[in-house]
């Protein structure tokens, strides 16, 4: 469970988040949307203490993150990045096994864990384990990114535009798989995306942000049927139009 209470974040350049309060219940997936610079990444960073709030409190599983060790906190929260962030000088197996190794697991345990994780994200360990990231496609690299994030058995998963750099087909496949993992592993997940359709299809809750302010927080259905402002309505216009056109195409062809 993640709770933000009246959080404000001020960077030297100005206010990035203003009076932000939201809760992600255990096992839920929250999707953050909003235009560039609206504060989505900053919100993610609050959860594993990569940014400290200027005021307000951040609670993870009931504990104020300001009072816990940042390194331990980050290891208990998995993170997936838009540009994968795989270490190019380490093999796939070494990337995935890095945190278990740093946390003192035995070589045998690491090996077994790496194999399980790679299979979990749909990569054959014998084929991919000894490859370097440069020897993988983008989709494969992000699968490794997900496996690495899950390696220390986190209860929380943070994903910042994880599919942004992938083609639509790969993206669709991986998104489905991530949603499945989220459910299977009982994770509490916060996902950032620019794709409104993706947000509506994946999130239990969707948060729409604008210029550091939370415009609306609700289920996809609430957003679709009761947008709180014109801005939110405008954002939902794109998927709605897409659905209508596709619907016409489908019925016309039938």
């Amino acid at each position: 469970m993640i709770e933000l209470h009246c959080v404000q974040v001020t960077y030297p350049g100005g206010v990035a988040l203003q009076d932000l309060s939201l809760t992600v219940a255990a096992g839920q997936m929250l999707v953050l949307v909003g235009e560039s610079g609206s504060g989505k990444t900053t919100t993610l960073k609050l959860v594993n203490r990569r940014v400290d709030p200027t005021s307000g409190t951040v609670l993870v599983d009931g504990r104020n993150v300001a009072t816990v060790d940042a390194i331990a906190l980050r290891r208990s929260v998995g993170t997936v990045f838009q540009r994968f962030g795989l270490f190019p000088h380490m093999t796939v197996a070494e990337n995935v096994g890095l945190l278990p190794r740093l946390m003192g697991c035995s070589a045998a345990d690491i090996h077994a864990r790496v194999n399980t994780l790679l299979e979990m994200v749909g990569l054959a360990p014998q084929v991919f384990g000894d490859r370097f990231p440069a020897e993988l496609s983008g989709g494969q690299q992000q699968r490794v990114g997900v496996a690495r994030a899950l390696a220390p058995r986190p209860r929380i998963l943070l994903m910042d535009e994880p599919f942004g750099a992938l083609d639509p087909v790969t993206r669709e496949g991986l998104a489905t798989q991530v949603r499945q993992l989220h459910v299977d592993l009982g994770l509490t997940t916060v996902l950032v995306t620019h794709d409104m359709t993706e947000a509506l299809l994946m999130g239990d809750q969707v948060a729409v942000m604008h210029a550091g302010v939370l415009l609306q927080l609700g289920t996809p259905a609430q957003l679709l049927h009761a947008p709180s402002s014109d801005r939110v309505r405008a954002l939902l216009e794109t998927p709605r139009l897409q659905v209508e056109r596709l619907g016409r195409l489908v019925s016309g062809a039938a």
Binding site: R50, I71, F87
Partner: protein, 525 residues
Amino acid sequence: MSASLSEQLEHLPEYMGAHMLLCGVALLLGLCISLPMALLVVRRPRAAAVVLGSAGVIQTIPSLALLALMVPLLKSFGFLPALVALVLYSMLPILRNTVTGISQVDPNLTEAANALGLTPGQMLRLVEIPLALPIIVAGVRTSAVWVVGIATLSTPVGQTSLGNYIFGGLQTRNWTAVMVGCVLAAALALLIDLLLALAERGARLRRPMHTVLGLGALVVVLVTGSLWPHLATSRPPDTRQVVAPQTSAGAASQSAPVTSVRVGAKTFTEQYILAALMERHLRAAGLVVTRADSLGSTVAFDALCRSEIDVYVDYSGTLWANAMKRQDKAPPWKVLAELAGWLADRHGVRLLGALGFENAYALAMRRDRATQLGIATVQDLTHHAPLLAVGSDYEFFQRPEWRTLQQTYGLAFRETVSFDSTFMYPAVVENKVDIITAFSSDGRIAAYDLVVLDDPRHAFPPYDAVVLLSPRVATDAAVVGALQEMLGRIDVAHMRQANLMVDRDDDKWTPDQAAGWLDEQTRRP
């Protein structure tokens, strides 16, 4: 050519060994200081700027000057000042490449490492250093190549190195020696560079064998190289470390007789010959002799005062003007007497006596040019000077004698040009300059048919060649006895002939051979 090549290669173990020891230790220390320092400042841009800036400033000091500065700064001579200068020189490329290499690591990766929960130390060790490794090693390689090259300049501060080939060869016009020195230094630099590259490639491509092979070979090469002089001992063991200076000369020589003597020589032919001659006499008396060749002029004197070398030949006028800082004129006997007293009182140095010849600074010009201008004495130059260019060695224009000469005769030359003394003679012969400050015992005055101008007002002091003893050996019976045999025995004609044998282009003799000839000519019957 091949005979003189094999002559040169006789010195290889000694010179190469000393060179490798110096470079190996300097690189190791440079690495041990620069790497941690770079890692310390890499996350502090302001500290990094200060550290890199300081290392950059050191780099702008000409290397020979930096080496020379270390002698008075460290009040020491030989290995230590050379080492410190080289370590300082080695730092910039390692510091700069480490700092830039690490700060150029993709920020997405450091961001990822941070978010995954790596501590700053783990991030450095597991992510930043491995990714910056090729750049860091490139810095180490640059530094190694510099150090090997610059180490040749440590010869004038009293540290044996491959520079002994180059400096000695330059002074004695022995181009084979110069070539040998250059080629060997270049080959050593290339070898070290190659082995480091191999090690780095191995680390990058995950071939641990390559890394082990590269680093292993490097260590083996440097260690065996450094031990070479001690392995190939047909010659007596050469104590590379400078003999510890004795605080009280009198007490030391009374309590324990001296068994080994270090003979110094400045950077010109006559000095090499006389050092070789003294070595012969000392060896004949059963003493172990080591040599420190190609020392800068004041380096030699300072080293003697501290008993870091024990004996060398200097010239009374040089000491009178430069060490005693006297401007007044005095007859030769008085200069010698006052000098002996001053050296003993101020430095505990013993002026054992004069060898019998003078090696004076003297203005010389081409005979035809002198006749054409009607010049026979320095006095005659006064009117012509504004049209003439004068050439000299590196030090003369800095010396008090030059000022005295100009004032005494009211000389204002059109131009002054500094040369290595080897190139001074060809310069005047080829009319590149009109006048040079020749040395009166130099065989080349006669060989090139130059006219030496009279000095009617005695602007130049007398320059009797004198043997100086360090405080440590000043009263040692064996040393004194061995060298006393030489006093008053060498006249200027013999010295000129010996110098010419080494300096001439055909039928060149080595300084050792010329010393043998001089010994035969001047021994008491």
